[in-house]
Structure formats: C-alpha cells, structure tokens
C-alpha cells in the first residue's frame, strides 16, 4: 500500500537557507536568511521563560476549579484548606472581586453582541468545567495542590447546554438575564442575490463541521505578578503577546494608575493567539499579589491548559455555491453556526472568529453575489476566541470544499476551475461583495507557480496510474486570502483599548552600536531577528552592531504587540522609519563636525562616508563620542539627537490582505482509514520578504498546525460538558512522523501602503492547510463514491464514509 516511489516525495534535506554571518546585499540585510541571534541562548537552555523566574518571598497560586459544566455553588468552605501546611491564604470569588472588577467581552462594531459580566474567580455559579471558583496561595505549588483536596464544596447541578444547535434553540438559556443564548448574529446579503441563485445552471450545497480545538502552546500560560505596596506599583512578568494591552487591563481592573503598571514579557514558549487574551486565573493572580503585597506566580498545568486556554473553531457551516454550466461562479451562500462557551472572551470578543468566516468565505473568487448568516451561541464548554488564523481555516475549507464539489459536478479539473474564477491579477484595487477591499493580490501568479512547483500534471498522471493498482491518492488545492496588518478597524473602532499602531525607538550608542526598542513582541517567530535586519539596513550598520529590546512596557514605545500577522508589517515599518531618521541625524552631526554638506555624506558599514566615493569620513564610534562626550566641539546651536522614535499605523485599507495557494498530496489506506500525508506545497505572497528562512519556517509551522486541526485535534466533550481528552496522551497533535515535507515558493507583491512593503505571514499556513488536506482526501475518496466533511478526518470517519464500519 505504501507505494512511495516518487523520489522527490522523499526529497533530501533542503539546501541550507542560513546566510553566512557576514553576508549582506547592496541594500543591506532585507531579503537575507540571516539566522536569528536570539535563538542561541534558547539552544543552550538559557532562555528565560516566566516559570524560570524566582523572586524573594514568591508565593504560588493554584485554583479550585468547577468539576461541573454548569452548577450553582451551594457551599464553599475554605477553612480547612487554609490550614494546610504551607498555605498562605485561600480566597473565594467574592474576596477577589473586591480587588478586581469584572469585565464584559463586547465590542461596539459587532452590533448587538452581548455577554454577561465575568469575574476573575466565579461567584455563585460555574458555567464550564474548569472555571476557577477558589484560589489557594501556598509556599510551593505542591503544597497548594495538596490543599485543594481540602476545599469543601457543595454544588447544585444546573441544565447543561453543550450542543450548538441545542443552544440556538434556546431550550435552556445559560444566562437568563440576556434573554437567549445568542451572543452575536450577523445577516448579510447583496442586492440581487436571490435572483442570481435562481438563474444559476448549477447550485451545489454541502455542510461542513469543524472540531473545537486549541493551541497547545508547549509552555503553559504563565504569570508572575509582583505588587509593591510602597509604590502602589505592579510589575507583571507574563507570557503574553500584548504587553501594553495587559498593562491597560491590569490598571483598570485592579485600579492601579497605568504608569504604575509594568508588564514584562520574557521568552515565551509558544503563543499562536492563545496568549493574547485576558484569562480569569491570570487576573486573579495579579489581584492576589495586590491582596498579599508579595509576588505570586501562576502556571497553567497541562490539564488546566486544556480546560481553560481558549478553544477555537467549533463551527458547523452550510454553504451553497451557484455557477454557470461553463464553470463561472455566480455567488456564495453561507449559514454558519459557532459555539463559544459561556462568555465572550475579553477584550477581543468571541464574535470575531465567526465574523471573519462571514468576511472571508468565497474571498479568492470573482463573484458578485453573497449572502451570509452567522449565529454565535453560548454553550457550557470552555470559552473560544482568536487562535492562529482566526476564522480563516473555516472560511478557506468551506470555500475550497464547495468549489471542488462544483468542479467535480461539472467535470472540470479543479485547477482549471480555479483559473476561471480567481480574481484577475489586474483587477485591483478590488472590493469583495462582503465589503472588504483588496489593495493588490496575485492569485493567478500563485496558481501558476504552484502547479509548476508540484508538477500538477505529473501528479495527476501518477494518481491515475496508481488507481489502477488500487492505490488511492488524492490531490487537494486551497486558494486563500488572509487578513494581515490590521488597521484600527479591527478592534479600536469597537472601543477596545488595543493599539493598531506600533512604535520603535532607535538609539546610537557612544561606541557606534545601535539599540532599538520596539513595541512588537518576540514569541519565537523571529521578530527580534528581522528587527535587527531592518534596523541595520536603515541605519547603515552591520547586523552584529544592533541590539533589539522588546516585551517591556517600561522601556519600549507604546504598541499593539504580536497578533493578526502584524509584527513585521507594522512594527517593521515603524522601525524602518526610526532607523532612517537616526541615519539622517547621524549625518547632520557628522556634517557639522566635519564642516561638509550633509548631502555629500552617507552611512555605510558602521561609518559615515563620502556618498560618491565611499571613502570613510568618520566611524560611528566617533559620531557617538562627539555627540555624547564632546558636543562642545560642535557649532554652538547644534544639538545632537542620537535617539529617534517613530510610529506607524496602516490606515488606507482596513486590512492588508495577502493571498496564496496550497496543495496537499495524500494516500488513503482504504482498509484502516488512515491517511498518509505525502507532501504539501505552499505558494504565498506576503509582499516584501525580510528573511526568507524565517518566513518559510513560519509557513511550515502554520501548515502543521492546520494539519493538526484537519487530521487529529478535537476537544471532545461528553453531553454533560465534561472534557474527555484533557491530556496530551489523549488529545493528539502532529508529531514528526505524521507530517510531510513542505515545499514553499513566493510571489512578491509589496504593499504600497508602507515603504517596507511587508505584509503578514505567520498565519497563512494554518489558514490554508485544512482545506487543502480535506480536498486531497476527498479527491482520493472520489473513485470510491465517498466524501468526508467533518474535521478532524479520523480513520473512523473515513471508514464510515467508505461504509466499512
């Protein structure tokens, strides 16, 4: 069965992408695969993740969590627990609420969205299994966990709603004060929609379901809060993607002046969107630090991670596609239902994911008619919110699934069908029926490149040959668009205090080195590495002269942080502008010192030089020495400015869309239902590529997370709302043996909104992979008359589709 004869499927390791340490292009370091300097300490085990930190008098908090999905707390007695060895204090929700005000996860631009107030620790009622209802603080984590066994709680079980359709029916309303279980709904239709569908030659329809899954960051959520009563100040070490957002939130909910709150983000062991939200247990940890006036640490263990890290992507979407008989798409019709748990997550809300599905479905195609209905409902499971590629994996899979089905019905090759319908590369700027505006996309260039890269015709021939031997292989394509570099239209307009702008400060040090401080954070994706490249290029120094500092509200400019594929495009542009401004200031100083026209000078390789001849005029170390120690030698009115700050906000478009296309090649074992992923290809257009190696590695990691959702991952709940697979032994994620090699190529259409021209790329892999894999599996199943549309595609589901079980 395992006929893996194609030699290129077992391709040997890729050419080493890393550029030599001394490499640079004529224009600097942009576009070079420079290995990132910050990776070295991680390779030596010398990273500093939040749990690695210790402070004097550090206490540890653990949480007593609801064993029920929905229950009233009849009695909660913490006295015995509080007397256990090593226990410092025990608090219930009311005690913590005196220090931490509740929050409501709504945004004004999601019209009608509603959610009840949520407390750091539940009071009176728990609404999902795992919701914290008491906190125990102890000298050690182990002592705290020992004491948990002595918490006395009595519960009154309440009706549980776990099924989305059950929730939508309002049979039992989780929050009676809200009237129904609907958190948010959206209805959208373009003019003439009904008519267009009525006149279509062919309308295909299918319903797709997606398993609720989660991010599984290897490092659990972690926070160390240190309140200092003498200063009324709070320093929070936190594994977070948005330090300034958290600073604002700690300030407002704990009633500490913003300037007294400092959030520091050291190394982070994976985020993927999981660590950009406000978590009740983390807020409680900060509140407890204030209450006890000492440092307190909380680290989510693996079970707590499964029970309380945001989940995502539980959707059931019915989609219809109308087209002409010669294969022209006329329109899409979507009805999406998603279940988000009992609260809309603060402050980004749990309405965004569904909203994105509405925004993006049908996105790559040139059609004019679109109708969408979205229902976002409360359930008694863990909360859901934005996880890597927010909504895209759903929108891409349902779009590409129904597109393939239409092609199949019409007997048109799926690649050819896409060619006929993808928006033309010269049609931009373009407004999509859902109202989104695209600056410039390159669907057709990407499609052509992909088909060549994968040898599409050759694969089709091979597939045909093997079918005769009863070897079932499938090829799946998935075109996509992706939201990156969001403007304030994403959150700010809705009233969220989430910054869409970022800032960068660049400082020339007296020795000629350059320090830059940027508000975007490093989560492992290589942000600090590309910032080194951008800064070195902008100022004109060699890369080893640049030091980057991120992740500290006490030192960096104000900014949004790392989410929605925005770090390179927004933070990078701010840094480019800051670096250029510093370069200009360096030239001013050198010109004054040397009495030469500054226009005749430039900065190159750590020195001010003659622009025309390249002759060195003054090393930067000399510029620094004069600027800082001998300004008396400069003209009387001249003030050196060797520190510069610049900011950047994308504003012309709501989002800077990227596009790309992926392909998956699979082999199906019809006896066991197992699918072997043989190979995966991606062609992506993320504009200017700052570091090709880092970009490709972001895509690969993203693809594998997408494969996880498509093939393995699902948070399984019993009808009583009990999570059935809360460990990594039961919840499967892709391991190295499950994953294919992934080949990547690029089309490069820089955005014209910024000088850097970079768009985002961190989520693209995850956005497209599930759709490509699904289409490949269905392509393999097609000759057997079977089809699957419920993710993850487990062997059992495939055998069921084949009628074998």
């Amino acid at each position: 069965m395992n006929d893996r004869t194609r030699p290129d499927l077992l391709a040997p390791r890729a050419e080493k992408p890393g550029a030599p340490a001394d490499a640079r292009t004529a224009t600097g370091y942009i576009g070079l695969s420079v290995p990132r300097a910050g990776a070295r300490r991680l390779l030596q085990g010398r990273g500093t993740y939040t749990d690695d930190l210790k402070l004097p008098r550090l206490a540890h908090v653990v949480f007593f969590r609801s064993p029920y999905a929905h229950a009233r707390i009849r009695k909660l007695d913490l006295t015995t627990a509080a007397r256990q060895p090593g226990v410092i204090a025990a608090f219930d929700g009311r005690a913590i609420a005196e220090y931490c005000t509740p929050w409501v996860g709504v945004l004004a631009h999601l019209k009608g969205i509603k959610s009840p107030p949520q407390h750091a620790v539940a009071i009176e009622r728990a609404c999902w299994q795992g919701e914290a209802v008491a906190a125990i603080v102890a000298e050690s984590r182990a002592q705290g966990e020992d004491a948990l066994a002595h918490v006395e709680a009595e519960w009154e079980e309440l009706p549980v709603v776990t099924d989305m359709e059950d929730a939508l029916s309002n049979r039992s309303v989780i929050h009676p004060e809200l009237g129904d279980n609907i958190c948010f709904k959206r209805d959208f239709v373009t003019e003439g929609f009904e008519d267009a569908f009525a006149k279509a030659d062919l309308v295909v329809e299918e319903t797709y379901s997606f398993g609720r899954h989660t991010g599984v960051t290897l490092e659990g959520r972690a926070i160390l809060a240190d309140y200092n009563a003498g200063e009324h100040s709070l320093t929070v070490y936190q594994a977070t993607q948005a330090p300034h957002m958290m600073q604002d939130i700690f300030s407002r909910h704990l009633n500490i002046p913003e300037a007294n709150v400092r959030v520091i983000c050291k190394d982070v062991g994976g985020s993927y969107g999981i660590k950009v939200h406000v978590y009740p247990d983390e807020m409680a940890t900060a509140a407890i630090s204030v209450m006890l006036r000492r440092p307190v640490k909380f680290l989510a263990d693996r079970l707590e991670s499964f029970l309380t890290d945001i989940h995502a992507r539980e959707h059931k979407a019915k989609v219809r596609l109308a087209c002409t008989k010669d294969g022209k798409i006329i329109g899409f019709d979507l009805d999406d239902l998603t279940g988000i748990g009992p609260y809309s997550v603060y402050p980004r809300t749990s309405g965004i994911e569904g909203n994105q599905v509405v925004n993006l479905t049908g996105g790559p195609y040139a059609h004019k008619n679109y109708r969408a209905r979205l229902n976002v409902v409360f359930t008694n499971k863990n909360v859901t919110c934005q996880y890597r590629a927010v909504g895209h994996p759903i929108a891409v899979a349902i779009t590409e699934g129904i597109v393939d089905l239409a092609a199949q019905k019409l007997g048109i090759d799926p690649a050819e069908f896409r060619r006929r319908n993808l928006i033309a590369d010269d049609a931009y700027p373009y407004t999509f029926p859902s109202g989104l505006k695209f600056e410039q996309l390159s669907h057709h260039q990407c499609l052509d490149k992909l088909l060549a890269l994968m040898d599409y015709q050759g694969l089709r021939a091979e597939q045909k040959r093997l079918r005769e031997k009863k070897i079932y292989r499938g090829i799946g394509l998935a075109a996509m668009i992706e939201v990156t570099n969001p403007s304030p239209a994403f959150y700010g307009v809705g009233g969220a205090r989430i910054s869409a702008q970022d800032g960068a400060t660049v400082r020339l040090e007296p020795t000629g080195m350059v320090t830059c401080l940027v508000s975007v954070t490093e989560q492992g994706q290589g942000t600090e590495g590309i910032f080194q490249q951008i800064c070195a290029t902008a100022v004109g120094v060699s890369i080893d002269k640049v030091r980057v500092i991120t992740g500290d509200t006490g030192t960096t400019p104000y900014g949004g942080g790392t989410w929605a594929s925005r770090g390179a495009g927004i933070g990078g542009e701010a840094l480019l502008q800051a670096g250029k401004a510093l370069r200009a200031n360096i030239l001013e100083l050198a010109a004054a010192a040397l009495s030469i026209d500054k226009n005749a000078l430039d900065v190159s390789t750590d020195a001010v030089c003659d622009k025309a001849t390249g002759e060195t005029k003054m090393p930067l170390a000399e510029v620094g020495r004069i600027g800082y120690f001998r300004p008396d030698t400069l003209p009387l009115k001249f003030q050196a400015e060797l520190t510069v700050t610049r900011h950047y906000t994308p504003r012309e478009y709501g989002f800077t869309f990227t596009n790309g296309i992926q392909a998956s090649y699979v082999e199906l074992d019809t006896d066991t239902g197992f699918v072997k992923l043989l190979k995966h290809w991606v062609v992506e257009d993320c504009g200017t590529v700052i570091n090709p190696m880092l970009v490709d590695e972001q895509i690969r990691g993203g693809v594998v997370q997408g494969i996880g959702g498509a093939m393995l991952e699902e948070c399984l709940y019993s009808p009583e709302g009990q999570l059935l697979n809360g460990s990594l032994a039961d919840y499967l994620v892709p391991m190295s043996g499950d994953t294919p090699d992934i080949e990547i190529a690029h089309v490069c259409t820089p955005t014209r909104q910024s000088e850097l021209g970079a768009k985002g790329v961190g989520e693209a892999g995850t956005a497209g992979a599930p759709g490509a894999v699904m289409n490949a599996i269905n392509d393999a199943l097609a000759p057997l008359g079977a089809r699957v549309n419920v993710q993850p595609f487990t062997p059992e589901r495939i055998l069921r589709a084949l009628g074998k079980v």
């Binding site: 390779l43 085990g45 990273g47 500093t48 290897l218 693996r302 990691g701 594998v704 990594l728």
Partner: protein
C-alpha cells in the same frame, strides 16, 4: 509528605547531595532545586519529550522519574552538554536552519537527536522522523529539525570515511 530522603546525584559531572521529598519528580528537582531551567515540562505525562534529560548515558523523561530514583546516577542536562561541547554540531545546525522558534521543545529535541546521532550513524531521513516522533514541537512543523539532524549525521558519515 514531610519525609525526606537524602539523594546524591551526579549532575553535569558534579556530585550534589540534597534532601528531597520522595514524590518530587526529577525534572522539578533539576529546575527548582538546582536552577537548571533549560529542561522544561509541557505535558507532565511522558508524551512530549520537553523534559528529556540523560541518565547514565541514556535519554529519559524527567517527568516520569522521581528525583530519588536518580540517587547514585549520573544526570546530564542541556546546560552540561552545552558546556562540554557535545551538542555543538547540532546546536549550530539548528541555529543555521532555524530549527527552533520559541525554543521550549529545543533542549529535549537536542538531547534526543544527540542520542540518535551517536547510536544510529546510518539513520535515513525516515528513520530520523521516526526516532524524533516522541518529541513534540508546536512551532516548527519539524522539517527544519529533521533537516538539521540529517545534516549532522551525513557530515559525520563523510568525516568517518577514509
């Protein structure tokens, strides 16, 4: 719970004697008592490999072993194997290929890979993928890790040829 045992363990070549609770896991002992924070815990169940350390020359999962069980043993961690230079070739290859992102899985990956490099000098790409299948990385998608290990193995093989 108040009982303590005295354990003597050779950690990265130096003997240390500590009073440990019998229930303390080796990984927590290394991290909390000795400050060797290079090894991590992620699953606490023996399935992810983030806690991989070397006991008497063989890789083991620090979350599945108690500290007292290491009494009389020799334990090596990423810190010690970095200082000794043993991991140098892998670290270099991982760096150049960006075979790590957040780095949380990396120490475990390196120790596992080093055992493969030492014990299976002829490992093929498929065998490398198999051998590394007990180590979870959520960031990279594995390909660059496999590439890096393969490069080290191939380079050694070339070096070993007369």
């Amino acid at each position: 719970m108040d009982e303590f045992f005295e354990a003597t363990i050779t950690v990265n070549g130096k003997a240390v004697t500590r009073r440990v609770q019998p229930r303390q896991h080796l990984i927590d002992f290394l991290r909390d008592e000795l400050g060797l924070t290079g090894s991590h815990t992620a699953c606490e169940h023996g399935v992810c490999g983030a806690c991989t350390v070397r006991i008497d020359g063989q890789i083991r999962r620090g979350c599945l072993m108690l500290a007292v069980q290491a009494h009389g043993c020799s334990v090596d961690t990423v810190e010690g194997l970095t200082d000794s230079g043993e991991l140098g070739a892998l670290q270099q290859e991982f760096h150049e290929r960006n075979a790590l992102q957040c780095g949380f899985c990396t120490p475990g990956m390196l120790l596992t890979a080093q055992e493969l490099v030492a014990t299976q000098p002829d490992a093929t790409r498929e065998e490398i993928r198999d051998f590394m299948s007990g180590n979870l990385c959520r960031c990279t998608g594995y390909q660059s890790i496999i590439d890096a290990i393969e490069e080290v193995i191939v380079t050694r093989r070339k070096g070993a040829q007369p």
